[in-house]
Symmetry: D3
Subunit: 242 residues, 6 copies
Amino acid sequence: MDSTTNVLIVSAHAADFVWRSGGAIAKYVKQGANVHLVILSYGARGESNDLWNIEGQTLENVKAQRKAELEAAAKCLGVTNIEIWDYQDYHMRLDEERMERLVYKIRAVQPHIIITHGPRDAFNPDHEAVSKFVFDASVLSTSNGVRLEGTKTAKQAKIFGFEPHQSEISDFKPDVILDISEVYEQKKAAMECFKAQKHLIQYYGYKAELRGNHARRCSGNNDYKQAEAFSRFFPYVGCEFV
Amino acid sequence: MDSTTNVLIVSAHAADFVWRSGGAIAKYVKQGANVHLVILSYGARGESNDLWNIEGQTLENVKAQRKAELEAAAKCLGVTNIEIWDYQDYHMRLDEERMERLVYKIRAVQPHIIITHGPRDAFNPDHEAVSKFVFDASVLSTSNGVRLEGTKTAKQAKIFGFEPHQSEISDFKPDVILDISEVYEQKKAAMECFKAQKHLIQYYGYKAELRGNHARRCSGNNDYKQAEAFSRFFPYVGCEFV
Amino acid sequence: MDSTTNVLIVSAHAADFVWRSGGAIAKYVKQGANVHLVILSYGARGESNDLWNIEGQTLENVKAQRKAELEAAAKCLGVTNIEIWDYQDYHMRLDEERMERLVYKIRAVQPHIIITHGPRDAFNPDHEAVSKFVFDASVLSTSNGVRLEGTKTAKQAKIFGFEPHQSEISDFKPDVILDISEVYEQKKAAMECFKAQKHLIQYYGYKAELRGNHARRCSGNNDYKQAEAFSRFFPYVGCEFV
Amino acid sequence: MDSTTNVLIVSAHAADFVWRSGGAIAKYVKQGANVHLVILSYGARGESNDLWNIEGQTLENVKAQRKAELEAAAKCLGVTNIEIWDYQDYHMRLDEERMERLVYKIRAVQPHIIITHGPRDAFNPDHEAVSKFVFDASVLSTSNGVRLEGTKTAKQAKIFGFEPHQSEISDFKPDVILDISEVYEQKKAAMECFKAQKHLIQYYGYKAELRGNHARRCSGNNDYKQAEAFSRFFPYVGCEFV
Amino acid sequence: MDSTTNVLIVSAHAADFVWRSGGAIAKYVKQGANVHLVILSYGARGESNDLWNIEGQTLENVKAQRKAELEAAAKCLGVTNIEIWDYQDYHMRLDEERMERLVYKIRAVQPHIIITHGPRDAFNPDHEAVSKFVFDASVLSTSNGVRLEGTKTAKQAKIFGFEPHQSEISDFKPDVILDISEVYEQKKAAMECFKAQKHLIQYYGYKAELRGNHARRCSGNNDYKQAEAFSRFFPYVGCEFV
Amino acid sequence: MDSTTNVLIVSAHAADFVWRSGGAIAKYVKQGANVHLVILSYGARGESNDLWNIEGQTLENVKAQRKAELEAAAKCLGVTNIEIWDYQDYHMRLDEERMERLVYKIRAVQPHIIITHGPRDAFNPDHEAVSKFVFDASVLSTSNGVRLEGTKTAKQAKIFGFEPHQSEISDFKPDVILDISEVYEQKKAAMECFKAQKHLIQYYGYKAELRGNHARRCSGNNDYKQAEAFSRFFPYVGCEFV
């Protein structure tokens, strides 16, 4: 985790990257890694209920609001490389053209680590679609028969899946519990940028504490305070037990 | 993985530790880790078919033969701390007294890493019994209400499960694929100590190559040649994605 | 849920019933149900780490302390029918004699509802043993060939499993999310009786809030504040969709 | 289950709603609930084998026949609100336009309960497609960012999945076993409207008896005679154990 | 399936072999196979509810009744090699001595096929215990280090598991669906020997019809009328696809 | 397995049928079965990495090379009925028109056995898409409401799934282990036609040996040398235990 590490986060909606990997992002930025953030949609249809409760609301305005919030949150985490692809959400349609766009992006970033939605997410069909979309794009990006002008084949990145909102009914198994104690204040600040979603700020605050408890129990290390959990898309490969 | 790392391997029978973790052991020894090996039985009843095919064979002789072989194999891997508990196998009876003995051992070794049988092993009831036995002992060893004269509560070790002989019908999922290229010759030498089991020497040789292929595919690192696979008993906890 | 409803809770250790079903218990007591609590052990060996950190601690003293705490907690919840069977924990040995004792108890109580540990609980072998023990006893209690002097065969109770400490790595699936908003203060008071376990008080406080969030999301009912989750041992049977 | 309860059934083909939920429907109608039935196709291609065995058969005629049968069956069950969307089956193509149509329907009905195909159905790809289609539509219907002229956001309905034809090879787990004894004669009459499918009439008659046996065994209530089984799409949420 | 085929059935209680494999047994007997039946208990405690409802009932009488019934049933199926080991049921205690007895039996029979309880059976702890007991004995019987006077090591038998009473809540997956049409009348006659269990006679009659439907659907062969389902303990091995 | 047996293999890319079922194919051809091979793509984009490493490579040339290799390999196995549909791979788009084409093919071949990709294949989205595509086409082919000029409804074929490259992380369970010892030299020759993929030739050589070991262990038959593993799409149905 230093300036030679490239990280790509792909977030289905405006705020997913904050609730589920804000701590991880802040850590990697802090250590000097090259962190790239792709946000596929503003979540205007599916994740902006509170904004639509305002009389006379318009799509443009919802998007503008979400944009301001997510940029503020990204700033708290220290991320500066952000692309917003502004796709429609709820349902998100992810065709071959969009697939190619993501393959381009992966080949441009050459990520060692990709962080995105895990394969199952009860109550959120977009998250499941994005999970498969990113995984498939990652596979295509490593194949040099997939010829894209001006790109260089990527090496297989490690892929980590967000913890979904309702873990157990989404078959989520935590493979990685990441200590985020040292950057937790940044994550908190980032979460608070989404003013219209107070209940989620509290919710993900509690989650971080519970995962901190698990981190201590599984490791015997009592320095861990807050943590985030992720699934792996395939096994750890390496030179020692970790 | 250095001289401050304590490793405990618990093997149900005489040769399990070689087929399934010989490479891992050799690596840890090579890096100066403190490696402790507990062998619960000689496998005289369940894993010495070839020896029993010899006319006039006796239990004493089978045990002596297995002892010589396993000590030779351990030597190839560089392990010197070996205990053979000489329990009867097929079925292995693991009562509270034996549990207490293992808790003592864990507290004496204070392992950071425990390597033993994974929870499922088709065709081998002893392996399944030992897996639960070791896990439970590890939990008890961390509880300071389990009062054992002269012992100090252990910190929760990371526990890794061997790949069983028939992986898929034993529900084995590889969580960790460990590169053993640099010590593979040692593992081969260790395997060859079990002269009466030629078919297994070849079998685990092929396995190491297949796992090497997976290691390359999952990581994009073509330096990996041979590998061993393990399951995790609980999630990785740490400060960065690995 | 009224004075014709019999409920039996079986708790492996002194505090399990509070962390995991304190809200459910308080509700049933409040509505006038007949609530019976069996506590199999004081958890002196496995769940009293903090007490054993005190210099010169003795087993008698640990038990006395746990007894005082659990009785205070039960009082907060309004339960008066309590039996403490004082078995050794870590490992809990559950033989045929103890099985018979529980069959007697079930036949005496004639429960409509049994609440106990679910089948899997990572890091806690006692909880898993108790889960099977209670289930088997419940089956035996309904069979009138299991002849026990002075008892009357029970009808098959509905059985609900506690949410374990680390849900996802224990394969826990929430089948029932029970609103405990109206009795949450009682549960909090009960939890606070276990003074030496501050971290768990906070932990289960957060859990109640998260489960409250899930309750709202799954039902669309925003009155739910705190909740507890349980698994079912077998399907719901009834006259309408619930 | 009274006149304030809104129920929506979505059936992939002409007869699915009868075989798999005829009893449930009859019960809800009988108690005065508002029951709405959407039939997505006549099953002309995939579930009308017997009709196509007739020399000179035409698609129009098959549809007419299926229409007559399903209307007769619905009448037996007492349902009067029926819509037939007449999509092609085998394969059923469920695009965004059709999704929007179902969101409209859900918002119009404002169902408390939705009954449709469960997520897995071996040998029937349409049933699996419809299951995801209905679930996603139900999620979209609750999101007020999904703006549809003249509609009002729905509250999250409880969703129940039909038992598929071959339960075990479709990973079906019965979460709810519904007693249908009091309306079983109606279900039988409804099944008999599908004259060309005698083998299914017998088959689902036997199923009802087996599920009745399970209902008695799981509850200890011997009044249950016939029953239907369903899966849940997410946990039960409520104020007491059921 | 001829006079060179040895079959061993191990039944936990008096009637299990009839409900769950009566058709299979009758077929093998009819074709001249050597069929051996071991019945571990009379099921006096767990599966004789109706008998115990008779005033003044005694254990001896229950056993005598069960013995008469099972012998009559075996006769209907044509089995003459029957051993009743008369163990206590509910709970069945299966220690090392009993294990050794079964290893002896397996080595005496040298079965090509073993039929017994599958690994999971909701509501019946004995069935689960017997499943593991038989599997472990089969493994031990093939190991020539397990020295038993006067025995000859067995070859690994194929092992098939009974369909449990409540298939789906017991995780039963049918791997083999066996056509029993030609011997179904014999099975029916055998079932009718258990006069006190009318409800089960009807239940397993319906099951046979449903499994017959599945046999037709999966194979396209309409000659199949009634069938029985079994799980496999390990993969089919052979020279062609079957 | 004789001249009345029709077999259809559907391979996503040029070489899949060789690595994963070359032995099965050679056996069926040798016994005189009618073996038909459909190859959906040349794998030019996803499975021709080595060819693309050559300076100035073109798509036409890659396809020509793959065509020559696969035809040579098919010749080694003795297959003469080959169709190459030349679809684009990585991603393979399988629409209703292509589905209809496969239904035509199945109805023309009237296969008793279909061999294709199993449902899960980590790292290869095309394989998963083809698995569902073939299964759905097989279901449609049996339905006589799916009217296709000049075709005759097929009987339900048995369907077997290839072992994927990384079995365990693809949830592969071997249901069938097929002895290929007598044709192994043919399979080896066929594999060697894919000159640019030396690592796979070695890899699938080792796999065949490991599966041979499993075949011996599961059956006790020591004549088995090399083997291939397959999953089943639905249960075995037949007249005896196999």
